[in-house]
């Protein structure tokens, strides 16, 4: 069977390490490769990470897995992604990074969280998302950027989470998944964006930054030729976007 597609690669892009793990189709772990990732803490409470470096580290982890498994490109049936949750990864023209990502560890949005949490729409926002507001979240961070550095958002075309940024680099598709979309901007019952939640965050005028939602258990996208070259995998392989875990 070694000459057919009999492996699935799961990529777990954590805050400090990115792992690429190969499983056979029955779930047995075959091999794993990892690359240390780094982030920068600032005196102002910031915690940031480079977008291009994170993609480069992800590609390196996949190449590292290829060094451990003979014929990995030929044997790979799918690639799946998960990553650190929350945070804000902004991409602009030509899918280039607008600024370093604000991680879930970033505390700068604290004043905005206090303001929003005291607002009249907060309970309705909580009951739709099921999720308490905090500084980790992209909704809080976008609202804080809008209040303090709107020019960053003006340059952005899409607001992504970590795994979404890697999915964009692997497939060329700007998208997020139902889990982060729902607990940040939507409703867990419908798995769709909620106008009421977005309005409660004061982000109605920034809604165009939110990407389409793709359900990774149903929908797939092919790997681009450029991503195939960087990762050592083959183009046109299907690449999965999965829920995020932190």
């Amino acid at each position: 069977m070694a000459n057919s597609s009999d492996l699935i690669i799961g990529v777990d892009a954590g805050t400090s390490v990115i792992k690429a793990v190969a499983f056979d189709l029955a779930g047995r772990q075959i091999a794993a490769a990892s690359v240390r990732n780094s982030y920068v803490m600032g005196a102002d409470g910031s915690a940031t990470q480079s977008l291009p470096q994170t993609w480069s580290d992800c590609a390196a982890a996949l190449r590292g897995l290829g060094d451990k498994i003979t014929g990995l490109a030929r044997r790979t049936a799918a690639v799946a992604l998960t990553g650190q949750g929350d945070g804000t990864w902004l991409a602009g023209a030509d899918n280039a990074a607008v600024t370093d990502a604000w991680l879930w560890l970033d505390a700068r949005a604290a004043p905005t969280v206090r303001r929003l949490a005291a607002g009249p729409d907060e309970r309705a926002r909580f009951e739709a998302t099921g999720t308490g507001l905090n500084t980790c979240q992209q909704g809080s961070q976008l609202a804080h950027m809008d209040a303090t550095c709107p020019e960053i958002l003006d340059r952005a075309e899409v607001a992504l989470h970590c795994k979404d940024w890697l999915f964009l680099n692997l497939t060329g598709t700007r998208a997020t998944d139902p889990s982060e979309a729902s607990f940040t901007f939507g409703d867990f019952r419908t798995r769709a964006y909620s106008d009421r939640v977005i309005a409660a965050l004061g982000l109605t005028h920034r809604r165009h930054l939110l990407p389409d939602i793709i359900d990774g258990a149903q929908d797939t996208r092919p790997l681009t030729a450029a991503a195939a070259a960087q990762t050592g995998l083959r183009a046109a392989r299907r690449c999965r976007l999965a829920m995020s875990i932190w």
Binding site: A80, G216, A242
Partner: protein
Amino acid sequence: MPARACSTVGSTGVHMRAVTSDAVHLNTEGTGYVICLPVPNLVTQVQTNMAATLNIDWALSLAEDLMSEVGKAPSHADMVARIDGWMARSHPGALVYHPYISEAGERGPFVNADARASLVGLNAGHRFPDVIRAVIEGLGMAARDCYAAMGDMPRELRLTGGAARSAALRRVLAAALNTPVRVSAREEAGAAGCAMMAAVAIGAYDTMDACIADWTTPLLNSPEPPDPDLVPIYDRLFTNYRHARSGLAPVWDGLAAARHAQGA
């Protein structure tokens, strides 16, 4: 459907309870997360503790620091290896410990950046093993506090993270939640989870349940049931844990104000 629950107890604690979306418990404090699972209409509620085994590291470091002053300190691993022995020499439910040792306070099931750890109920007879037991039981109480904010206690707890390797901690968690505990042998749970979605998406399995039967279930160790003698002891301990944490909130405010006044 029985409530399926999974806790990852490492440096921090993550407590998750899977329910259908109509069964989500929206707590009055407005805390936690609800995260959609890759199964139609199934979500997981999530509550997180800022610090879990970091509390044990703190308690062990008290002893390590002292021992290094008078001689050669043991390694951290040597100290960890003694925990089961200390648990055997101490009495359950004697002390209340709140595991809010992080300088960022606590975030589940309540959010308070000024919350701090506390040890309540000491007398002159208590020794280091009693403190270690209190800290470990505090992790069980914190887990119960989180699950209580998400509805009923789970009927089975699946445990991952570094603490899953400790028989003492598994025993405390099982009794604190009055539920059997099962440890998963899956090493890379995050990568495996998203790979399972891909396995369903490419048709290797028709349903996620079929995938779970191959990828997850065979890696679960057999359930470790709660000790029936411990369960009522931890019920009482939890009542006192909650009373103490409510009562301490103004103290946390006062300590934070004092730190601020002293420029810390």
